[in-house]
């Protein structure tokens, strides 16, 4: 079963395996197992595993009742009708007397019913497997396992299932399902004009994507590339400036013979510990037109009159550079901590050897310290690049995506893809376009990940420590 299968044939083999097993169990199995293919739990009851059989049977009854009776939530049915609605996304146009079908709920319930069906199929398969196993046990040991034994097994060898189930359920309901739902929205025309429950929306295929790419004069498309460009510039500078800034700071703090390392480090940890919304909003006011920083700069003579560096900056680039600088304040302590950890782990013998060979301090730094730090912290570099592509707080709290730019289509000069997504969906109700941006962001982050992670040592040698 666990033989490794590679390539395309392996892929098909893997897909086909459950069906082959399914067929085999049906042909090989006892009459009970054969019955289990139609009535879940029949095989277990046939073998005298009454409680287990009843549980399976109840699952089947529950599923059939659910599918047939189509329980309604908010006037929108689940069950088999949800599949039909999933395709049509509603037929009842609303008027003054009757509300329209809620296309959004129909889409959602289609996904939910599909998920429930998948879980049911899983249970169905496991009921057959359990019955087939009982057949085998009877043949090999002359008796089947008791319910008590199965329960004990749940806390024994199969304990991992009990440990994984809650987390998996949580992730499916609160992450996987909503994400699927948003992906599907990208293929509909769910926008401002078609509010859920007031007006129907429908599938439009790839139309939203073509709006982005094949219509360069269109507002959205014209705005997309600049926002993407700024997202990449931001991610690049935010990541690498913070990274090398942090390393330099770590080298400085860990300089040999320097006293007060603990205190210096504590001061920088302090800034990590302060919730970001506090430090960002503080910064925003501190460097604002009325804040003490500008009045100080004016007093010293560097500036002549107060101006905005952020949301109302006269030039987009002033706001952008300010954001990147503030991000240094936010991010450097963190990478300093990581680099400090790496520096302290460098074996002293390496330095000894270099000194004996007469290497200068600069050579040691260049040939030993830096490569070591970079080697150890590369995975962090990748994940922080991705984190920066999807970083929301810093932009939203500092500028809200402003300053305004011409032809902005809601996106301001400092908006990243993710903040644009937020504005489009929450503020402007252009759900379909927001969803497209979400998918494009995902494509961006996954490309970066695929290129880098796959090459990194920690991915290839994932099992090295086992």
């Amino acid at each position: 079963m666990d033989r490794k299968k590679y390539g395309i044939s392996g892929f098909f083999q893997r897909i086909a395996q459950p069906f082959i097993n399914f067929y085999k169990r049906f042909m090989d199995g006892s009459i009970g197992t054969k019955m289990s293919h139609f009535i879940m739990g029949a095989g277990n009851i046939y073998h005298g595993q009454i409680i287990k059989g009843l549980i399976y049977f109840l699952i089947q009854v529950g599923y059939v009742v659910f599918m047939v009776t189509c329980p309604k939530v908010n006037n929108t049915p689940l069950g088999y009708k949800a599949f039909i609605n999933f395709v049509t996304l509603g037929t009842q146009e609303g008027d003054i007397f009757t509300p329209a079908d809620n296309s959004m709920l129909m889409l959602l319930f289609g996904v939910v019913t599909f998920g429930i069906t998948l879980m049911y199929l899983f249970a169905y398969n496991s009921s057959i497997k359990s019955s087939y196993k009982a057949d085998k046990d009877l043949k090999n040991y002359g008796k089947v396992t008791t319910f008590r034994h199965d329960l004990k097994e749940m806390f024994g060898n199969r304990f991992y299932i009990a440990m994984l189930t809650p987390a998996t359920l949580g992730a499916v309901v609160f992450t996987l399902l909503p994400t699927l739902f948003m992906i599907l929205i990208a293929f509909t025309n769910f926008d401002k004009e078609r509010q859920a429950g007031l007006k129907l929306f429908d599938w439009v295929g790839l139309d939203n994507f073509t709006t982005f790419f094949t219509n360069p004069s269109g507002e959205i498309a014209a705005r997309f590339l600049p926002v993407l460009g700024w997202t990449l510039i931001w991610a690049f500078f935010a990541t690498f400036l913070n990274y090398y800034g942090g390393i330099l700071l770590a080298l400085l703090i860990n300089k040999k013979g320097l006293k007060g390392k603990v205190i210096f480090r504590a001061i920088f940890v302090l800034t990590i510990a302060i919730p970001q919304f506090i430090s960002l909003l503080a910064m925003r006011n501190l460097i604002g037109e009325y804040g003490p920083l500008q009045s100080f700069l004016i007093k010293v003579g560097i500036m002549s009159e107060p101006m905005s560096f952020l949301a109302n900056a006269p030039n987009v680039w002033i706001a952008r550079i300010t954001i990147i600088l503030i991000n240094l304040w936010v991010g450097i302590p963190y990478s300093m901590l990581l680099a400090s950890g790496a520096i302290m782990n460098i074996p002293e013998s390496l330095y000894e050897a270099a000194r004996i060979d007469g290497a200068s301090k600069f050579t040691i730094l260049r040939k030993i310290t830096m490569p070591y730090i970079v080697f150890i912290t590369t995975p962090y570099l990748i994940s922080s690049f991705i984190g920066n592509i999807t970083s929301f707080n810093i932009i939203y709290l500092l500028t809200g995506g402003m300053p305004k730019v011409t032809g902005g289509y809601i996106a301001g000069g400092t908006d990243l893809l993710v903040t644009w997504l937020y504005k489009l969906t929450i503020d402007e109700q252009q759900h379909n376009l927001g969803a497209v941006i979400g998918i494009l962001t995902f494509l961006l982050t996954s490309t970066v990940t695929l290129i880098t992670y796959r090459r990194s040592k920690s991915y290839k040698e994932e099992d090295a420590f086992q």
Binding site: V73, N74, M104, F155, G156, N157, Y160, M163, L164, P166, A167, G170, A171, F174, T175, L177, P178, T179, F181, M182, A196, L252, I253, G257, L258, A266, I267, V269, L270, A273, I274, P275, F277, I278, L281, A282, L286, G288, Q294, W329, Y334, L337, L338, G341, A342, P379, T390, Y396, L417, V418, L421, Y422, T425, I426, G434, G438, F442, S458, F465, Q466
Partner: protein, 305 residues
């Protein structure tokens, strides 16, 4: 552990200052000066917020100034901002909300995260690789793409926006962030578990009596991160709980609206600063107290990926 080593090292190699070459002296002096300047830059905004919390300057007509002013050091200090914060705003309610959310999120997500991390590291089951790959792919979607969907689902279902919903949102996906914990459990020798198995201990017992006691660092780290999450998060709380329900805000959302909301009456910067101080003190204290675990955890997590 590193702290101790360092002290020993420092003592051993610390030369008599007088014997140092002059270039070494200069470079050391330079390093001190640079570090002190950097510390001032990093502390400048923090000290400013604290000063503002105590700033009680009055206009000629007797009203409090309360806005951002252009001088750094306050001319008059007092507790007035804190008094306003606790009597005239919803801050105590926000604080209680956040505390409730943080405690439950901490318990729930630590449990979910630890169990998944352990299983992913130590149990070789059939679906392991697919499971890990799916988790990685999910992590690449912008986090609040699903949040926005949750928001619409809650809204469409007519479910009231409750703190309970927020707790679920924070902790339900915790299992997906198992990479750090897995990195820790990977370093626990398999022999330890094998030995217990040979002695006849069940998996549940192995986890409870052998693994958990030695996992204190990673448990503390995970709990710390999930407890502080709700205090720091701004966007989830804002979207899930809605903008109108003042009594449901968490501290981050409440304080944001105090500054940039519709109600001009309470948009005083100094009161906001007082709120910030009240939020930051417990969080910073917690971080400092558990600094060791935080550093260990974040280093281990990002180093192993």
């Amino acid at each position: 552990m590193s702290e101790k080593n360092e002290n020993v090292k420092v003592k051993k190699i610390r030369p008599n200052y007088l014997n140092l070459s002059s270039s070494e002296k200069i470079s050391r002096l330079g390093a001190y000066i640079l570090l002190i300047v950097l510390c001032i830059i990093w502390l400048y905004p923090i000290v400013w917020i604290v000063l503002n919390a105590f700033r009680t300057e009055f206009n000629p007509d007797g009203t409090m100034v309360g806005t951002v002013v252009s001088h750094y050091w306050p001319k008059q200090v007092g507790w007035d901002n804190f008094k306003i914060l606790f009597t005239n705003t919803y801050f105590p309610v926000w604080f209680r909300n956040t505390l409730v959310v943080a405690v439950f999120t901490c318990i729930l997500s630590t449990m979910l995260n630890m169990s998944v991390s352990y299983v992913m590291s130590k149990v070789k089951f059939k679906m392991r690789k697919p499971f890990m790959n799916i988790a990685m792919v999910m992590g690449l979607f912008p986090g609040f793409m699903s949040m926005i969907a949750i928001y619409y689902i809650l809204k469409a279902l007519g479910l009231t926006q409750t703190l309970f919903a927020l707790i679920l949102c924070y902790s339900a996906g915790a299992g997906l962030g198992f990479y750090v914990g897995k990195g820790f459990f990977d370093t626990v020798p398999n022999a330890l578990i094998e030995a217990a198995r040979i002695d006849g201990a069940g998996e549940a017992r192995i986890f409870a009596t052998i693994i958990l006691p030695i996992s204190k660092p990673i448990i503390v780290y995970t709990a710390l991160m999930s407890f502080t999450g709700p205090w720091m998060d701004f966007i989830f709380a804002r979207v899930i709980l809605g903008e109108q329900n003042t009594h449901l805000h968490t501290v981050a959302v409440g304080l944001y609206y105090m500054m940039y909301g519709q109600i001009v009456d309470t948009s005083r910067f100094t009161v906001f600063a007082a709120g910030c101080v009240c939020v930051a003190i417990p969080i910073v204290a917690l971080f400092m107290y558990l600094q060791k675990y935080y550093i260990e955890g974040s280093t281990a997590g990002s180093v192993k990926g």
